[in-house]
Amino acid sequence: MGLVYALIAAGLSLIFGLMELVNFAHGEFLMVAMYVTFFAWSLAHLDPVVALPLAALALAGLGWAVYHGIIRWVLGGPMLAQVFATFGLAVLLRAGAQFVWGVDFRVVKDPWLAGRVSLGGVFVGLPQLAASALALAAFVALWWFLARTETGLALMATAQDRQAAALMGIDTQRMFALGWAIGSACVGVAGGLLAMFYYVFPEVGGVFALIAYVTVALGGFGNVPATLLAGVLVGLVEVFAGLLISPAMKYAVVFLLYLAVVLWRPLGLFGRF
């Protein structure tokens, strides 16, 4: 679970690092990805595992469109305008999903990966296990892209210093759009993975998005590897809090952890000035 959180948060973190903007519609992107996966299964009989690239591609398209349609225009505006542009988008997507698909909970029935396996005496659901492994794989792919390819380096350069990057001949507009596409694709993969073992409904993004903000802030905005660690940490805390204290309180404990950490390190665990 922590790895899936990390992947959701990584997309958010990437977008934030690039342009200092928190995408409040991130949870709704996740919801859209889950619907894409669901309909790939119900209409085309594609298993969620097969539909993963499809979900990633669809979300990358969505991210790209959102950047060109909305974000570009508020980038120079005050922080509040950015918050509300993405928040409005969140309401729009959520209500739109309810309008088009209704409020029913939908489940992918009989995915290829089902049942559970025993790991040293501890039973783990196979879909969850596969989701963790695939999330980790996606994370490694993301890291490889950012740190080892020319486009990825250009992206990171833009994140560090917009103007300097522009002077070096990097098309920052293209990089921003690309950042949105990749960040959204991360959510696309995460959504596809979640759809294997989680209900799909219009409001599903809410709690995951909140966790994602906390994860990103915990790791330090814009720092992708730190997000991975923070995601795992959040996942572990959630599980243990649910086990030791009470399942109802698990999210409260996660948020409390976040508050405790930022008091000690105001820019997150690995944040730097």
């Binding site: 005050p78 409005g88 959520r94 739109g96 909140l210």
Partner: protein
Amino acid sequence: MKRAALVVLLLAALAFPAVFTLPFPRHVMIMIFLYGSLAVAWNILAGYCGQISLGHAVFFGIGAYTSTLLVARAGVSPWLGMLAGAVLAVIVSQAVGFPVFRLRGHYFAIATIAVGEIVQTLFINWDWAGGARGVFVPIRRPDSFVNFQFNESKAVYYYIALGLLLLGLAVTRRLEGSRPGYYFRAIREDQEAAASLGVHVAREKLRAMALSAALTALGGTFYAQYLLFIDPEAVFPLSLSILICLVSVLGGVGTLWGPVVGAAVLVPLSEYTRVWLGGTGKALDLVIYGALIVLVAVAQPSGLVGLARRLGRRSPPGQ
């Protein structure tokens, strides 16, 4: 001239219940006043002092829960409960603000979201306070001022809500010309510069937070007494926190009238679309609402008051 317009507006507001006797228009006006006053309160902290809180529902909920629990469990008049709620909200705001104000920008906003979520979870799991099922305010008949319940006519609620809004505006108005008001704006513009000029940044932020929290809590008590039922989903949700700032942003952040203008536009819009288009389970009203927010953010980030000012500048009077 401007003063005359304000007097006319106030008289119109006072005369409204005499002209419109149906419950629905009165309800819409009450909601405008309530959200207007909440947005005015939020605006003190966010608009003037620049600390964007996305957890103001906490103070709203504290106001609602304090008065309701006092009247339901101990029979204390909600008017006293309102005061107690405001005091409690101030205490909580200081306890929360002391650590959280060390954070800035997005970190601050997300920390306030986290605080809001923690408080909501606590109340959902707190059985004595009604848990997830919520609490009813015991209904008292006949209507009396002491009980803060007026089941026969919405007119009294109307005037109380109007009073809350005027109180918030009066506080903001005083703040604009006072020393703390200047400190707040200095912090908003540049915290380091303000500190270097001798502004006690932490103390001024806490002061803004206290004012804002107290005014928000008053609105919470009013809401509880108006609906006579509260639960954590209604008074603590993140969506309420965001709605409060949305009203301000739509109208114009950091201006005296912005929050009122925002409420006057947004509340009727959401109430009427809800009545016309809601109830189908299709959430078409929310589709329009969301689209509108995006539109405002993209087209007019300084809000409607900013738009009016720009238009006013383009065609100055007498030309």
